[in-house]
């Protein structure tokens, strides 16, 4: 648990949960990801990932109804250990990016 780093998709899912705060319902998370992600995202993938993150205790789930009304849905929130994991992943990435120049849009030049 302590030294785990998140996979790429797990990271952006967790980040979306953070970004959406109180409105982090499954569908909203998907739409956020779809909006910002370069690659295609599926709702299934979102839920599968959220399920794993939950099992690892990085997110918590509760049932709530959205502000706009409608059926009760799962509302996700990041846990402290989830935040810590995000932090670790960010630091890890930063370490590897340090001193790397990727300019002009063409790698290796």
């Amino acid at each position: 648990m302590g030294r785990q780093v998140l996979g790429e998709f797990e990271q952006i899912v967790l980040l979306s949960v953070v970004r959406l705060a109180d409105a982090a319902f499954g569908r909203a998370i998907y739409e956020e990801l779809a909006r910002l992600s370069i690659t295609q995202v599926t709702i299934t993938a979102v839920y599968v990932t959220l399920s794993r993150l939950e099992k690892k205790d990085f997110v918590s789930v509760q049932l709530a109804a959205p502000a706009s009304g409608g059926r009760r849905q799962k509302l996700f929130a990041i846990t402290p250990s989830g935040l810590a994991a995000l932090q670790r992943s960010r630091e890890q990435l930063a370490r590897f990016w340090a001193g790397v120049e990727v300019g002009g849009g063409r790698a290796g030049q």
Partner: protein, 891 residues
Amino acid sequence: MSESRPPARSRALLARLLPAALRADVLADMDDTHSDLVARHGDTEANRWYRTQVRTSLRMALAARFDRFPGRVSGNRTFLRRGDDLMTGLVQDVRYALRAIRRDLGFFTFATMIIGLGVGASTAVFSIMSPLMLRPLPLEVPDRLAWIALNRTGGMSSVTSRTSNLRDFREMNRSFESMTGYDAFFDYNSYNFVGDGEPERLVGVGVARNFLEVLGVAPMHGRNFVEEESVWQGRPAAILTNAFWVRRFAADPAIVGTSISLNDTPTEVIGVLPASFDFSSTFTPGARIDFLLPFPIADETDRWGNTLSMIARLRVGVSIESAQADIDRMVEQLKEADPVRWGLGGAVTALQGQITGGFRSAMVVLAAAAGAVMLIACANLSNLLLARSVKRRKEFAVRSVLGAKRTRLVRQLLTESLLLALCGAAIGVGIAVAATRAVAATTAVSIPMLTAVSVDLSALTFTLAVAVGAGLLLGIVPALQISAGHEGAVINDTARGSSESRNSKRAREGLVVAEVALACVLLVCGGLLLRSFVAVLDVDLGFQPVGAMSWSIDTARSFESSEERVAFYNEVIARVSDVPGVDVVGLTDTLPLGRNREWGIWAEGVTYEEGQSPLAFPRMVGVGYLESMRIPLLRGRHFRADDTSETHNVVIINESAAARLWPGLDPIGQNALMTGEEPWQVIGVVADVHHQSLEEGSGLEMYLPIAQHGDWGTLDMVVRSSLPQAALVGPVRAALRSLDPSMPTTEYQTLDALVDRSVSPRRFILLLLSAFGGAALLLASLGIYAVLSYSVSQRAPEIGIRMALGESASQVQRRVVSRTMTLAGTGIALGGVGSFVVARLIRPLLYGVAPTDALTFAGMAVVLLLVSGLAGYMPARRASRTDPMTALRSV
């Protein structure tokens, strides 16, 4: 919120693959998003999005389902684990296989055809066998139904029972829930049906009142017979068969409750049978049945003698053996009570066995033949795959060096061969469907349950099993060969001439020898059956079928006396004889090769031991019958017009009867006795006629004039003429109608057709077997060709060297051909031994030829050698045309 729904199939697919915990949420969100998209962008966009989502999610959904290690995530592994590996592997294998196929489309097409042939044959045979042997009869709880014959063997009259037997058994038995029967001699009567349209002669079967109940069949419309209809001279009623109802009344349910005219008697149609119950297909294959009528179990019908085929339903828990013991007990008791009572007895067998038993051996033979064809196809294909896999050695060696495990390579090859097998199976199913349609539609073959033949779920399951089995079988040998190692040598092209190619050569040649051996067995058995068939056709029938036709005639007219009736039919003969081109006309109540009854006949003044009295097949005939059939008269004279009811009773008997009744004496002038007091004087002896079937002997026969013996119903008219059928039919029909316009005139056939129908089951089996034999021969020769061809191309350098060193083209050819002959010869030798064994097993199907018939064995050996020689010739020619320089350059 729009009404539009997401694409149902995609949704269902996703729903199936998602793990249960996530299903509700994912589907709900997908539905919501879909609705939004419909509102914003329309149905098409929304559906496209939905489908893309599903398609892209499939792998992940499946992987999530198989996810067994929820807690273990390492940093650089993605969250797709074991499940995905399996999936990726399979998908990859299929993609790889498809690419391999595309590269070699010709081979693939060829190979699928071969498999298609094998699978088609197997599935077709399975489908034919299924209703006969594998499926239970289409009746209720069929394994508790029993058939009760009078005796175990004998002619029709020896296996049918009196109605008093049924009556008494019903009362006294302890083993049967219910007992019933039908009139086995139903075709001695016919019913003129005059509706709108042509008058028709219908065939009806008399059944006991509870017949349908016992079988568990309920009428589709209407009801079963009631008591008032089932007593002697009860109210006329009929239950129509489904086929007749559809044909003549256009499946109109309103016919139930109306009255139709049968033999000028208004008869109420009280019901229609369901299509699932085909009386004729089950009990009387080859005979068309139009309706059921009540057969009273009464003293009056008891006097008719042995008439019933008895069927009974066993009580739960009662076995056939205990039922038999029960019957024996009842027979004992009845005999004690009335010692002079005749016709007591009962032999119990299972109904299914009774109906299908006669064809068991033929079906088994067909199944074995289909199996052999399948094996040959597999062997052939295995060979081709082996040859092809050798070409791909390099490809697989590279993969192996790059880290692919052996199991992976084997799996790859198995996937390819499975794919091949499944495609072939699809073709095979097509072939089988066509074949079974043809079989089910044929009514010319007297094999029971043929109309129920179809490619159904069980057949498809069978096909799938066969295909998968074939795929694995085919794939395993090349797969193991190819992944056997020696990568370095293979990649460096130094592998030629190594031991592995010798092994593979031995494997391929071994397969070819096996193919030839199997083909030999198939051909020998086919040949034996062919000779049997020819022998059967060659049998001296005792009559001349060529140039004669028969008409089923009957009139609804009522006559005041039997003399009037006879005069009417004599007039029929006269009118038809007047038709230009007609040579002779005769009448009989039973044509040969049909069903018949047996009567006791005794020589006057001779006493016979208990159970030893002779039984003969009686025929009521008009003047001219024997002449019209060209049954040779050996002694005495024919019937004449002056043999009437006023004059002395006369009878004509056949040779066998003469020998049996008056051995060593001249029977002419002797008196014969039958039931009744008057003697019948023998005035003529004719040659034996095969009346039951071509294969069986004729037994005792006697011919009685219709003018003198009244026990006949419908008659068949035999017309001998040199005119072709087309020219004869019209005038004869006109002549008949001129005498009685309501007489049905459309039931005619040539006597040739009659004989044909009698041998139809044998011919049917033979046809199928020949098809298999032909396929086997084709496949085996293709196998030989392929192996030799490959061998020649492999050995091109060697051949080149030899030719460069002086060997001539013809010497090269001879070498190849001799190799072919060695292979073929070995195969034939092995096949000969195999045939020897197998032929013994098909002995019951043979007629007039021994299972060890040397001519057949030798003939088939010659055929195989010739075909093999031909198959080997082309590669041989190619070898002899090798240009030594080109061949040497490729070393």
